[in-house]
Symmetry: C2
Subunit: 302 residues, 2 copies
């Protein structure tokens, strides 16, 4: 099998700069069994704020019955009234959005699954029913004068239905953008993505959804996750989710994978000459802080 | 920062099939402190052979004083006289090549560092002196009627000199190909590579070195290694080194990274729809076997 390359391949274009959304305080902490004191969370978000990161998912307005870790959402929001940074909160439905608006948030993130099976499991709605809910939420956000974004869960596929058809994800993205969603994040919820699919899906969505910022959210996945990030960069994605210390999932359960560690993501972009505006030393400190939180508040099975 | 993409980016071309070189029996075992009995090594190589892998680095003809783990090189070679599989042995110099030829090998792999500092540390020669040695070795191999290949160590840079200039690596590759080397493997010895550099260097070498098969050898590197492999694929590389179980480095020393695990590499290519001819279940078993070897024969510091 000799080389068959005759002429120099085209240079691959990478963006000059990207934006990182720190999701640790929300996606990273929600699975920890022990309640983290509100002041610890505020300390964590405060440290992240100092790194230069401009987007932080700070909490979620979800039922305290289902996610007791987030029962202090309103207090967290009250602690971060700033304008310079996009402090986002996750809202699963109109009820959550209503609470978030009452608490004074400026930016909310709704969620929809692209897989029927996963969406049913998650929120007990069909994808079409979820879409209808998200359209109503966009109207509520507009009335309240706040920005709304959406996470598309299982955008790369799920363990139940397999690979997600690009056209379905594209269709959902287009409907959300038309409804007024300012940003759409394609989430590889269960770590099934690969760089080929990532490039194809991101290219498709980026070129056909004009009026929303497109981001990606990958989890740790046997070391394949940075190949996915590289593929997303090549497709033109400029917005990346990650969590300090690789928070999320369960560090003690094989197979349950955390988010991409923000400090590693910053290193990766730096190696590629891509600017993030994030201070490397400070984000490393945040990574250590987050790892300690995970260690201190993880409820060990006995 | 809104999307600026107007038209669909070009599809990225991936090869239909690639070849994997299993380096575990050589690169993976050499650092283990306890001597692995020859029959265990033979068992390991035999298991790898059954997976469908066509290239295996089985041992090294190095000084038993420096690498006592490889003192049974001639016995290993005698155990694998087959023609269907490329059983390769590492040879650091003419002396090693002479021993390898006497033992009856059909394929040898020489080594040269692209960094002056690293080459000096490794073999106490300048890069030019090493090149002269490798040219003489190519002539010896030709006389003996065996195939010779070369590994370029620190081809992506090293901790002492930083990033390797592409032109230097290209120059060495061209001289080796002209001297008769059938294959040249660009090795990221210390895990400093990134996908941008990988794409540039591989594109450069693949297009300008016509008469040698070009391969890459990456180590585990904070999860960036699969991004490098993906970039190498995009540049047209079709030959990849890896070691079952991620052998190599030291599993107990932070910072010392092993090779890419062959079983993961096979999974990665499979996800991308790239054929390797390797049986997934069998290579997983080899990974477990290798991990057990590493566990059993690692000399714990006390």
């Amino acid at each position: 099998m000799m080389n068959e390359i005759k002429s120099m391949p085209a240079p691959l274009i990478l963006p000059d700069s990207v934006e990182i959304t720190e999701v640790g305080p929300r996606d990273g902490l929600q699975n920890l069994g022990l309640f983290i004191p509100t002041e610890k969370k505020i300390q964590f978000i405060g440290l992240v704020k100092e790194t230069g990161i401009r987007h932080i998912d700070i909490t979620a307005f979800v039922s305290p019955k289902w996610v007791p870790q987030m029962r202090d959402a309103a207090e967290i929001v009250a602690a971060f009234p700033g304008e310079e940074i996009c402090y986002k909160v996750l809202v699963p439905n109109r009820k959550g959005l209503e609470l978030a608006i009452s608490a004074g948030v400026k930016e909310a993130v709704a969620v929809i699954g692209s897989s029927e099976a996963h969406n049913k499991n998650n929120v007990n709605l069909t994808v079409a029913e979820s879409l209808a809910e998200l359209v109503l939420m966009a109207a509520m956000a507009k009335d309240a004068g706040i920005i709304i974004r959406a996470n598309i869960a299982t955008a790369f596929g799920c363990d139940i239905e397999g690979r997600a058809p690009c056209q379905r994800v594209l269709g959902i993205s287009q409907e959300l953008a038309a409804a007024g969603y300012a940003g759409i994040t394609l989430c590889d919820t269960t770590g099934v993505g690969d760089p080929k699919l990532t490039y194809e899906l991101c290219s498709e969505v980026l070129t056909k959804v004009k009026n929303a910022q497109i981001g990606v959210h990958f989890h740790q996945c046997r070391g394949f996750e940075f190949a996915n990030i590289y593929a997303a960069l090549l497709a033109g994605v400029k917005m990346f989710d990650s969590a300090c210390g690789g928070l999320g999932g369960c560090p003690f359960a094989p197979g349950a994978s955390g988010n991409i560690a923000t400090e590693l993501l910053v290193q990766f972009f730096s190696k590629l000459g891509i600017s993030t505006g994030v201070d490397a030393a400070r984000i490393n400190d945040c990574g250590k802080f987050a790892a300690q939180l995970q260690k201190d508040f993880y409820l060990h099975a006995v």
